[in-house]
């Protein structure tokens, strides 16, 4: 690891001739890891809350007998219970994971299994306390990240696709699908798919998540009656909140997979110390 990070010298070459690039400023690194931990707590406490009424609806109110989505358990043909996921008219047997799972050696009728919820036992009150405290952390951390990103120019520099990237969109998609990752100068910026994905998550998915969450609050709804209407009613907001959570999980899975295949050590070092290796000119990228 070379010289100390300085904004005016974000790049250096070590004695072995390896090029280092100061990729992630401190604020972004700290915000990233806080965000990762906070999202994990929010996801698991959110699943705990969902378990209290494991069904989703569209509109202002619940139509109890005809949910759009539900996770239940019911007696199977063999006299044993089955876990069932219902999506519209489709039903899936999910015994063992959703609807019916084992917790501490006994069979439990619960939508999401014990290992996926916080607290692990069925405890809506504590789940709500985790969720609402960490929702504040998400919002404060996110606000700091966005303010820093806007005023430092990092958000524009890192996430808005450059002209040449938009022109070569097809080529970038191809490179991405072939898991070919750029080295050298090109590795100093995110490719166009990365940029657009991060933009959608940072400016679309996460804010939508927070707004849909707020739309479920009767107090906020009294202050801002337009908010639940934005989603088509409070139960729609709850469904959007759940779907957005699923999309964030999907994003994280793909994100972690790509972090691993595009050079786990280099990526992790980049997000922990800030320094990212661009490799040696003419040789393979350090992994």
């Amino acid at each position: 690891m070379a010289a100390s990070p300085a904004l005016e010298a974000p790049e250096t070459v070590d004695r072995q001739g390896r090029r280092w690039f100061y990729r992630h400023p401190l604020v972004i690194r700290v915000a990233h890891w806080i965000n990762a931990a906070v999202l994990l707590v929010l996801l698991m406490s959110g699943l705990q809350i969902f378990n209290a009424h494991p069904a989703l609806y569209w509109g202002a109110v619940s139509t109890f007998d005809t949910p759009a989505f539900a996770i239940t358990s019911e007696p199977g043909g063999d006299g044993r219970n089955r876990g069932v996921v219902t999506i519209g008219a489709h039903r899936f047997d999910t015994t063992g994971v959703l609807g019916l799972s084992r917790a501490g050696g006994t069979e439990a009728e619960r939508a999401f299994p014990s290992w996926a919820t916080l607290p692990s036992d069925q405890d809506l009150a504590t789940g709500r306390r985790w969720h609402f405290l960490f929702a504040w952390f998400l919002v404060l951390n996110g606000a700091l990240y966005l303010l820093y990103g806007l005023f430092s120019g990092q958000l524009r520099r890192r996430l808005i696709p450059d002209g040449d990237q938009i022109r070569d969109f097809g080529g970038s998609v191809k490179e991405h699908l072939l898991l070919r990752f750029p080295e050298g100068e090109e590795a100093k910026r995110y490719n166009v798919i990365q940029k657009l994905t991060y933009l959608v998550v940072v400016l679309g998915l996460l804010p939508a998540m927070v707004l849909a969450g707020l739309a479920m609050s009767p107090g906020v709804d009294a202050a801002w009656p337009w908010l639940p209407e934005l989603f088509g009613g409070r139960q729609s907001a709850r469904s959007v909140h759940f779907i957005a959570a699923g999309l964030i999980v999907l994003f994280v899975v793909v994100h972690v997979l790509l972090v691993v295949v595009s050079g786990l050590a280099n990526n992790m070092r980049g997000m922990i110390t800030g320094w990212f290796s661009l490799g040696r000119p003419g040789t393979e990228t350090a992994r």
């Binding site: 009424h53 009728e109 009767p218 709804d221 202050a223 409070r234």
Partner: protein, 321 residues
């Protein structure tokens, strides 16, 4: 070398994750943990009070949006002998007591309450579990009642004492005369013997609906099962439902003591003869079977001191979210 490092990192992350989550549950079980987790509630109360004025109303819906079935929740048929006696006479003997830090304690019959200026509102009810129903409520604004009683200057909270016993002090769940109570796990759990083990139906399957429909007052109430409290001979202390709101919510125009649901007298399953509506908060604040409104300066002397049956069991006192 690279593979080895990856394996190590993956294993490390898995281990850290498991430790973190086990640690989370342990943390939440300590006093410091509980206090930390409560910080979110304080922040929510603070911010929502900035967003709301005392007179801000929850949205009122057109009559066409009223839910065909208003899901009864929590206690749907109080097991208490006194309540059953009242229900048997269609609450003709019911008196609402208003006391505590008031200048003039009141005792009001249903006819008295219906004689006061009323308010009808079609509002959305949001259960802490996540579901919602829209219903039309008619009742007397709590402000009308409180203004007649006249608040003493120390009064800060209105406490609603309810008729329904949920459990007995000391953890006894056995009712008198062989009847039994079971402790609900959370505010959404319907307490009813016939569906108490039907976990999948708890949140709104067919059985509860059938019960609700034959549960209009007069029917259903005092017949089949035995009251849970065995009368004066029973020395156990029943823990009954109670709730509390502060004056910010108590004087909101939509905060009413409701006697009608959808134009008909409130069914027992929905809280007959009188239930609180405090529309900017969640369902468990909407106390059913309200017998007495007590004005107090502090909540510390009631129950376990947190301001409500569910609050004493970990739920937020401020249920605006």
């Amino acid at each position: 070398m690279i593979l080895h490092r990856r394996k190590l990192l993956t294993a490390g992350a898995g281990l850290a994750g498991t430790a973190l989550l086990g640690g989370c549950d342990r943390f939440a079980g300590t006093d410091a943990g509980r206090r930390t987790l409560q910080a979110g509630e304080d922040a929510n109360l603070f911010v929502q009070r900035l967003l709301l004025s005392p007179a801000t109303l929850a949205r009122e819906y057109p009559a066409a949006m009223i839910s065909p079935w208003f899901k009864p929740n929590g206690t749907i048929d109080p097991p208490d002998r006194d309540f059953r006696a009242l229900a048997a006479r269609k609450f003709a003997d019911f008196k609402l007591t208003v006391d505590g830090l008031v200048r003039t304690p009141l005792s009001l019959s249903l006819a008295d309450l219906r004689g006061l200026p009323g308010r009808t509102q079609v509002t959305r009810h949001d259960c802490v579990e996540g579901w919602s129903c829209i219903g039309q409520w008619s009742g007397v604004p709590l402000a009308e009642v409180l203004n007649r009683a006249g608040l003493k200057p120390q009064a800060r909270y209105a406490v609603f004492h309810c008729a329904d016993t949920l459990e007995y002090a000391g953890g006894g769940l056995e009712g008198g005369d062989g009847a039994s109570l079971w402790r609900p796990e959370h505010p959404g759990t319907v307490r009813d013997g016939t569906i108490q083990l039907a976990a999948a139906e708890d949140w709104g399957g067919a059985p509860a609906k059938d019960d609700a429909q034959k549960d209009d007052w007069g029917q259903g109430a005092p017949d089949a099962d035995t009251p849970a409290d065995a009368g004066p001979a029973d020395k156990r202390t029943p823990i009954r439902y109670y709730e509390s709101i502060d004056l910010f919510d108590a004087f909101n125009p939509q905060t009413i003591l409701a006697y009608d649901l959808n134009g008909k007298p409130l069914p027992v399953s929905n809280g007959a003869p009188l239930r609180l509506r405090v529309e900017r908060q969640l369902g468990y604040k909407q106390a059913k079977y309200v017998m007495r409104v007590e004005l107090v300066e502090t909540l510390s002397g009631l129950g376990q001191g947190r301001g409500g049956y569910w609050e004493d069991r970990g739920y937020e006192w401020y249920a605006g979210i």
